[in-house]
């Protein structure tokens, strides 16, 4: 996979008078797993919408390989960057295979529909995520974790280098959260660049190579989780007091003090 670099430069966004993002800058490339930490309403989704070209920032820019996302036509943008929404329930029940096949739409130009080649790609994407056995099941009949994996397979079928994931573990049970995150981590080891948002600091310690913490629309920390996520930062982010403990294996865990 050739690396697409993504540069967010001095990004500011406001809804009316309400400033949501205030001079956010960072960059990511080459198989990084960037975890965006922040409380509800801090602007994580807005940041993602700006990166995906769905929202236009008032100041600053998002550059993909040096070119602003606003200048990409929808189809070219889709070939560079994919989006994995929270697992949802669409109006109509599609088979898991059809859902993944939709990811290949940007690869077939103009008015054509995916053909045998794209079906092969969808097949491979299902295999990479490890859900080939679900291919004929209805998307509305599988579990939340399986839906999330289906959406990740769809992003792989899109063949973009960068994948934006909006809280991939929201609404999932404990086991599914860990399974989905482990799968995402494996994919970044294969060269995929992933930017995902999360509420859970433990997930950042467990899986993220890098953490970007947003407080009040500003970047409060950017770096390796072990280095930048402190008890003070978690207090600033979520308003709760925690103690960070190091286990015998050297892993850091978050222990809430209630």
């Amino acid at each position: 996979m050739s690396g697409t670099s993504i540069d967010v430069k001095d990004l500011s966004f406001s809804y009316g008078d309400h400033l949501v993002l205030d001079g956010v800058s960072f960059s990511a490339s080459n198989g990084e797993l960037l975890c965006v930490l922040g409380p509800n309403g801090v602007g994580k989704s807005t940041l993602f919408n700006c990166i995906l070209g769905l929202a236009k920032p008032q100041y600053g820019a998002v550059l993909l390989d040096g070119k602003p996302v606003a200048e990409y036509p929808a189809r070219e943008l889709a070939l560079k960057i994919a989006y994995v929404p929270q697992s949802h329930a669409p109006t109509f029940n599609y088979s898991v295979f059809d859902m993944v096949l939709m990811g290949t739409t940007a690869r077939v130009g103009g008015l054509s529909a995916p053909g045998a080649e794209q079906m092969q790609i969808a097949e491979e994407a299902l295999e990479r995520v490890g859900i080939s056995h679900l291919r004929t099941r209805g998307y509305l009949q599988i579990s939340g974790g399986e839906r999330q994996l289906t959406l990740i397979a769809r992003a792989l079928a899109q063949n973009a280098d960068v994948v934006i994931m909006d809280e991939p573990t929201a609404n999932l049970d404990y086991g599914n959260q860990l399974r989905v995150l482990a799968r995402v981590r494996d994919l970044t080891r294969e060269g995929l660049t992933v930017i995902q948002s999360t509420h859970n600091p433990d997930h950042a310690f467990l899986f993220a190579a890098r953490v970007l913490a947003l407080v009040g629309g500003k970047v409060a920390a950017d770096g390796k989780p072990d280095e930048v996520v402190t008890e003070q930062l978690i207090h600033d982010l979520y308003g709760v007091t925690v103690r960070l403990t190091r286990s015998e294996s050297g892993a850091i865990r978050c222990e809430p003090l209630l």
């Binding site: 769905l54 059809d98 939709m102 739409t105 529909a113 099941r137």
Partner: protein, 344 residues
């Protein structure tokens, strides 16, 4: 492509072939039904001599030719065309509005056509003008809906549907007013009959009139049908997968409206087809629009042709087809909402 995909594709191809065969059989039966039955042999002979400009066969009377070409053939064709278009429009609207209950009249195309037709009948214009008024008023209504929805605020899909409800309501008020002032002896019954929907007055020029806008609308819908799948998801998902969401949505709405307007202007208000047929087809071929739209075209044609045959043959006098589609459609929907969960 793995074996299961091939199997599925083969199943779909088989279904399309079977439905096409059923349609052909239904067409042949339709000619044989009625006060002047036309056998398949007579039909083919008459068609052959017309198409290939052969000598007129002595077996066929001029009366039979007149009935075949001026009455039966246009009516059979129109029933197929209208059924096909209303079903496709219903399926398309359901997709772009992410609403399984959307029908071809959701944006007011039918209400607009009804007001236009009622006005033309009130002014005692010719049948041709009634058709043109209905078509024009229908398109005007949708333009108004799109114009209003563009300047309204909020969720785009909701805006269009709300604008549609408002404008339809206005059109219905206009139709009611026209009925109020219409002469109850001759004009009012004619308006009422038009509103009930019927193919009984079909003439060759109706078919020719409707064919052009129907073709113009159907072709883009068929070309865009894979992309309609993506529009049934959220806009941000569809866009992030490389679909120009607003362009595809507006194109689909315009095309679906065009075929609806063309249908309504020649047939009056025929309800339920656009709701019942797509849902039946979803059960048979799944929700993938790549298979759903062609299946709906065939299914709609078969359905309306059969219903029209019932409407003209069941009783001595015609039963307006709109009444029959409601009689079939409503129980179907009761079944649909009470059945077990849908599977792919």
């Amino acid at each position: 492509m793995r074996a299961t995909e091939k199997q599925k594709l083969r199943g779909y191809s088989l279904l399309v072939a079977v439905m096409a065969a059923i349609l052909v059989v239904c067409v042949l039966i339709s000619f044989a039904l009625g006060r002047f039955p036309i056998s398949p042999r007579e039909l083919l002979t008459a068609l052959g001599e017309k198409l290939f400009k052969l000598e007129k066969s002595a077996d066929i009377t001029e009366q039979l030719r007149a009935i075949l070409f001026n009455v039966r053939l246009p009516r059979v064709l129109l029933a197929c065309m209208v059924g096909c278009c209303l079903s496709v429009a219903g399926a398309a609207y359901q997709g772009v509005f992410q609403n399984p209950m959307a029908a071809p009249d959701i944006l007011g195309a039918s209400s607009g056509a009804a007001a236009g037709a009622a006005l033309a009948i009130l002014l005692e214009l010719s049948a041709k003008m009634v058709m043109l008024f209905a078509f024009g008023a229908s398109l005007l209504t949708i333009s108004l809906v799109m114009l209003i929805s563009n300047s309204a605020r909020g969720n785009r899909v909701l805006r269009i549907i709300l604008a549609g409800i408002m404008v339809s309501s206005l059109c219905n008020a206009a139709t009611s007013f026209i009925k109020l002032v219409a002469d109850p002896n001759d004009v009012l019954p004619e308006i009422t009959f038009w509103l009930m929907g019927s193919l009984s007055k079909t003439k060759p020029e109706n078919v020719l009139f409707a064919a052009f806008p129907m073709a113009i609308g159907l072709i883009p819908l068929l070309l865009l049908r894979w992309r309609i799948n993506l529009l049934t998801l959220s806009d941000s998902e569809a866009r992030s997968m490389g679909v120009n969401v607003s362009f595809v949505r507006v194109t689909v709405i315009v095309c679906a409206t065009l075929v609806t307007a063309a249908s309504v202007s020649v047939s009056g208000l025929i309800g339920w087809v656009g709701l019942v047929v797509p849902h039946l087809m979803r059960r048979l071929v799944g929700n993938n629009y790549r298979h759903l739209l062609p299946a709906s075209m065939l299914g709609g044609a078969i359905f309306l042709l059969i219903v029209d045959n019932v409407s003209r043959n069941l009783l001595k006098t015609e039963i307006p087809i709109g009444i029959l589609t409601s009689v079939i459609g409503a129980p179907f929907f009761i079944w649909l909402i009470t059945r077990k969960k849908e599977t792919v």
